[in-house]
Symmetry: C2
Subunit: 419 residues, 2 copies
């Protein structure tokens, strides 16, 4: 197979004509396909309807329908402690979205500082490290608080640790957002070495915080999932017990928007957060916490449940990957990683071509995540990264959507090569 | 009846001896009664169990189990718009607690200012007006953000408006918390004139905000409830459309902690809040919103439901009021207001005696709201106000609790008079 990058002008024009015909064919179908957000499919949502069954909402004699219990009901703290590999005392059960846990934590750092440090609002500049490509909603939080984002490239092992170890020497660098397992969007799981190097960081800022967004903690696609080293197991070796705030949620286990979230942190951080929570709420939704405990039973129950999700996700990932391989493989215009879990496939196309490919997709009825959204400030400096979210459309639609994506990428790259 | 304040020393000592006997009798019963927080009783919680019935969680073809819809589902916005007397576009449906809506709004003012004004965190001093006695959790929010609280006395018509009109001439006075209907703890509903004077305020600070916590909007005890003038109807007359942020919740209609909250505000304020929400969450719990809409149907459904609460609350309020009247009436040592709704009875005892009365109650097994909690910084300057929350205990227990409270108040006052 000849790479596009090695074709003559004439060859490219011939390929272009053929692709254009296919593209016009798809376009005429008037499709409306959405691969923009990591939304579970209807079939995935149906998996959790038993969650809503009847129960008495009593635990240890306490009526969970009433006020109180700020940090979460004990059975639910236990469930998440087991899932995250920490003690129940180091768990807080949160609202319906871990995003709020993260936003509220950064808001707290902004207004009150970290364990007695100066509030970030009082500092001339606050910077955060952002592994890229990454999750747009992390960047939105940082942008909201005027925190300067510094891109650090991802490698197949995790973020570029050499770069990070340099950056943390700057005292105004106050933290880093990570999705350590099945990273959004690349699906990379940080290696043990990367986790250790993060745990061993010696930041100049005492109030440096790693936001460990373990959104895909148990979201495997295949029987054998990736193993992520539990960072809380190694932090004490480096005297960094207080450096990490971990969050996760059941948004992609049960119901997005009607699930529960959890936060794991050191004793000191938990106490710090509870001080704020005591002013912010009386309790989160304990009835929903109870329903989740009744539904899952224990961590094994979560594992079994997630296998049902995997069975629905696997054919979708495989469908997209098959098209990527068949249509883009060996053309010298695109690369991607085959993830073993999570919600996304990250596609890197020829530099300068991602936005145009996205436009072409849109014109043919396929909505992708906004190109650029995987980078801070919405700016992909190479205009190269495309995030594919295959979970929502049925497999049959995904078949078309993936083909349209591939044709669009090829057309965009040929356009650029012909310029 | 001779007032305690007009008794001779000998008379007081005789009364004291008799009361002490009664008190010791109660104490020996080893009771454990809680009148500290406005918690609904089990019977009240049982009223809403049908809320958890089965439904399809589809609205206008949208699967409410999935991500999305930041401002609340349309049917729920309509329900609260009707309840609050505003347009649905001026409603946001919030998380499980209106407390979080208020905390998050103040946090937003702190970090980002109000409609483009300077963030409050950047100002040398920010002050808030606090009608007293008031709701301790309002004060906790203000204290958390280092906002200086200024006490303004409540009158039978609402807060002292002469004082407020003076205070708002100070540009550093940025707002005021109000519970305008069945105020916490006195159960006072602001008169139309007070509501109008608030709506007509001309604060020096452009970013002055009234947090209108309509927590007891429809929480009548008797057939005929108090009528509160809708402040949003009159704000435009004074060009103050943006001055008020109203909140309410179903915490005391359905389930505390598992209900939903709503916020009403001008177009400009809604847009301002949505900017923050867009970074803070993907949506609140739409499944719970849907359940509430299905359960209530419309505003009339809420009204009918609240009558069932009233039927449970009325005998409790009457029980406490009967004891107050019988034991404390005409002794010159206490005064109170008979509320027509809400969750509390506010008792003002002889200056300097509230804390001691609270201690005596506690020793006899009756927990009251911490004396002082109804004032900013937990300091009741007159040490006189006691908040009684009669909703939680069964009527039979309340009978004892109210008697113990009355005896404790009398003993505390006699102690003071004998000093």
């Amino acid at each position: 197979m000849t790479k596009y990058t090695e074709m003559t002008r004439e060859q490219l024009i011939a390929v272009q004509a053929e692709l254009q015909k296919r593209y016009d064919g798809y376009k005429s179908m008037g499709l409306k396909l959405d691969m923009s957000r990591g939304k579970p499919s209807k079939e995935q949502l149906d998996l959790s309807m038993d969650l809503l069954g009847e129960t008495d909402y009593i635990e240890d004699g306490i009526d969970l329908r009433n006020y109180g219990i700020l940090d979460g009901i004990p059975s639910c703290k236990k469930l998440f402690a087991d899932l995250l590999g920490v003690e129940p005392k180091n768990i807080l059960i949160g609202p319906n979205a871990s995003l709020s846990l993260m936003f509220d934590y950064i808001a707290q750092c902004y207004s009150h500082g970290v364990l007695g440090s100066a509030p970030w609002s009082k500092l001339p500049e606050v910077k955060f490290i952002c592994p890229v490509p990454g999750y747009d909603r992390h960047f939105t939080i940082l942008e909201y608080f005027g925190i300067k984002m510094i891109n650090v490239d991802m490698t197949p092992d995790g973020p570029d640790m050499d770069a990070i170890e340099e950056l943390v020497k700057d005292e105004s660098v106050k933290g880093m957002f990570c999705v350590p397992k099945y990273s959004n969007p690349q699906g990379i799981t940080y290696t043990d070495e990367v986790v250790r190097r993060i745990a061993a960081l010696k930041p100049a800022a005492e109030d440096f915080r790693v936001i460990w967004d373990n959104a895909y903690i148990i979201h495997e696609i295949y029987e054998e999932g990736d193993e992520l080293l539990n960072i809380f197991d190694v932090l004490p070796e480096y005297g960094n017990d207080d450096m990490v705030i971990e969050v996760c949620s059941t948004s992609k286990m049960t119901f997005p928007g009607a699930g529960i979230s959890a936060l794991a942190a050191s004793d000191a951080n938990i106490a710090d957060i509870l001080k704020r929570l005591n002013a912010q709420t009386i309790s989160y939704d304990k009835m929903n916490q109870h329903r989740h405990v009744e539904f899952f039973g224990d961590v094994n129950g979560i594992k079994e449940h997630m296998k049902k999700h995997a069975a629905l996700m696997k054919p979708k990932f495989e469908m997209v990957l098959r098209h990527l391989e068949g249509e883009l493989g060996g053309r010298g215009i695109a690369s991607w990683i085959e993830p073993r879990g999570g919600y996304f496939i990250s596609l890197d196309v020829m530099e300068g071509c991602a936005k145009r490919a996205g436009e072409l997709c849109k014109e043919a009825g396929v909505v992708l995540t906004n190109v650029g959204a995987t980078y801070p400030y919405g700016v992909d400096p190479k205009n190269s990264n495309i995030r594919i979210a295959p979970s929502l459309p049925p497999v049959s639609e995904l078949d078309f959507a993936a083909q349209i994506l591939c044709v669009s990428v090829k057309l965009a790259c040929i356009e650029a090569l012909l310029k």
